[in-house]
């Protein structure tokens, strides 16, 4: 099996991740519940993972790194806890449903939402942020990279725009954290939402949000915290503010090991390897007659994703042939990115997404390109 569906979840995980999860399961108590050595071991390790995430994302305070099961929940917390009726929000057509659906729900509650449009190539015009600005605009919510095409949004530029107009900036870093540099302070980002199981190379069921000091997010869930138990409301101090209920400390042990791997390997080396493979694949498939590749591949900086179609061949059938005949795992269909598919004109056909991680090789990449060539020739 050649696994090229790493934008859905990375596989395999780095050495040490599964071992860390197992070791935690066999020895830890509950993080923040009790002061015996087993509970403290968990609490110490979880705090170390907060420090690692804060360091990775340029968040000055480790106690403002809050954990959730995934990026979707982090985005629900940020969007639901910072915006409300009467607020105007700017987002983009590049978004995943993890941003879109919380925004649509917020719109039903009385907020106004505008989307920076993507053109037929999936590109945005940054002047549209300015054009969509209103006196009641409160925030920009956007992804760092399209999960469909890999095209990136210049978050430094968006951060400057938000700072100039006093807007909150909520970033969805699901596809980029751990591969591309993100710095909350220098890029003026108020909230970064991340998931552990994609580019961070950790287990599923881990994720979270780093919050800038002074940004007060209303708690999404309230409940057990292990502290301030006779208070009738959720404690307002981060990270407890956003962490009702027992944390997935076993999963976070794995995330910590994955972050150790990222720190040791270096995200520049990881990015260089992954983008070189994606570029290698692109240069092959773009020359194949009948193959349409989506997105702007003239830019050096893009997430390691190549999405294509072969003639009018349904994307699900192409992915099935790739899996069954060639043992290549890809992702067809809509990729939870309905606005981007509309922009690209691919709502009917869908598209076939190939996505790389640090553990893919040139041989796998060449085999995938050859498989596309065979299918295109047969079509």
């Amino acid at each position: 099996m050649i696994y090229l569906d790493n934008a859905a979840t990375t596989r395999p995980k780095p050495p040490g991740v599964a071992e860390a999860v197992t070791a935690a399961m066999m020895s830890w108590g509950n993080c923040g519940r009790g002061a015996h050595e087993e509970a403290l071991a968990s609490a110490r390790a979880v705090f170390s993972v907060r420090e690692q995430m804060a360091r990775l994302l340029g968040c000055p305070r480790a106690d403002h790194a809050c954990f959730t099961p995934n990026s979707t929940q982090a985005l629900n917390i940020a969007i639901g806890g910072l915006l409300g009726p009467g607020d105007h929000v700017i987002s983009t057509d590049l978004e995943h449903n993890s941003v879109l659906r919380p925004l649509y729900r917020m719109r039903q509650k009385g907020a106004a939402v505008d989307f920076v449009p993507a053109d037929r190539q999936g590109q945005i015009d940054y002047g549209d942020f300015e054009r969509l600005l209103r006196p009641d605009t409160k925030a920009v919510v956007c992804t760092h990279a399209s999960n469909l095409t890999g095209d990136m949004i210049d978050i430094g530029r968006v951060g400057d725009f938000c700072r100039a107009h006093g807007l909150l900036f909520i970033l969805d870093a699901s596809q980029t954290a751990g591969v591309f540099p993100i710095h909350m302070e220098t890029q003026h980002i108020d909230v970064v939402c991340f998931t552990g199981h994609k580019s961070l190379l950790g287990p599923q069921g881990t994720g979270g949000l780093c919050v800038r000091e002074g940004v007060d997010i209303r708690p999404f869930a309230v409940g057990g915290t292990g502290v301030q138990s006779y208070l009738e409301t959720q404690p307002m101090e981060y990270p407890t503010r956003l962490e009702a209920g027992t944390l997935n400390s076993h999963g976070l042990a794995g995330l910590g090991a994955a972050l150790d791997f990222l720190e040791k390997t270096g995200i520049d080396a990881i990015r260089a390897h992954e983008t070189a493979l994606a570029r290698r694949f692109y240069e092959e498939v773009r020359q194949i007659p009948g193959v349409t590749v989506y997105g702007d591949h003239s830019k050096a900086e893009r997430a390691p994703v190549v999405t294509l179609n072969i003639g009018d061949y349904e994307s699900g059938e192409v992915a099935d042939e790739l899996a069954e005949r060639f043992g290549i795992a890809t992702r067809p269909g809509a990729h939870c990115a309905p606005r981007m598919h509309r922009a690209l004109g691919t709502t009917e056909q869908g598209a076939v997404r190939f996505s790389w991680s640090y553990f893919n090789t040139e041989e796998e990449t060449d085999a995938a390109a050859e498989a596309v060539r065979i299918l295109a020739t047969e079509n």
């Binding site: 002061a35 110490r44 705090f47 480790a62 502290v227 006779y230 981060y238």
Partner: protein, 78 residues
């Protein structure tokens, strides 16, 4: 029952703050350990840093120097 003696006790509003305190104390060689919060301070749960009374000054200096997010410092018999 253990022999009761006076302790310098530092309380926190989050587990994360308690972790930062423990980390700083270990790094700076300030004595003490994390224990369950005694009911004489607050009913409920959570953990606190318990140090010998002689360490109070060192604890206070550490809290200031590291900008640690504490709830309170108490002298109590435990």
């Amino acid at each position: 029952m253990r022999q009761k003696e006076e302790k310098c006790v530092v309380t926190f509003r989050t587990t994360a703050a308690a972790m930062e305190m423990e980390r700083a104390c270990k790094a700076e060689g300030v004595p003490g350990r994390l224990i369950p919060v005694p009911r004489t301070i607050t009913a409920g749960c959570g953990m606190c840093w318990a140090a010998p009374p002689s360490a109070r000054e060192a604890v206070e200096e550490l809290v200031m120097a590291h900008h640690l997010m504490i709830d309170g410092i108490y002298a109590i018999i435990l």
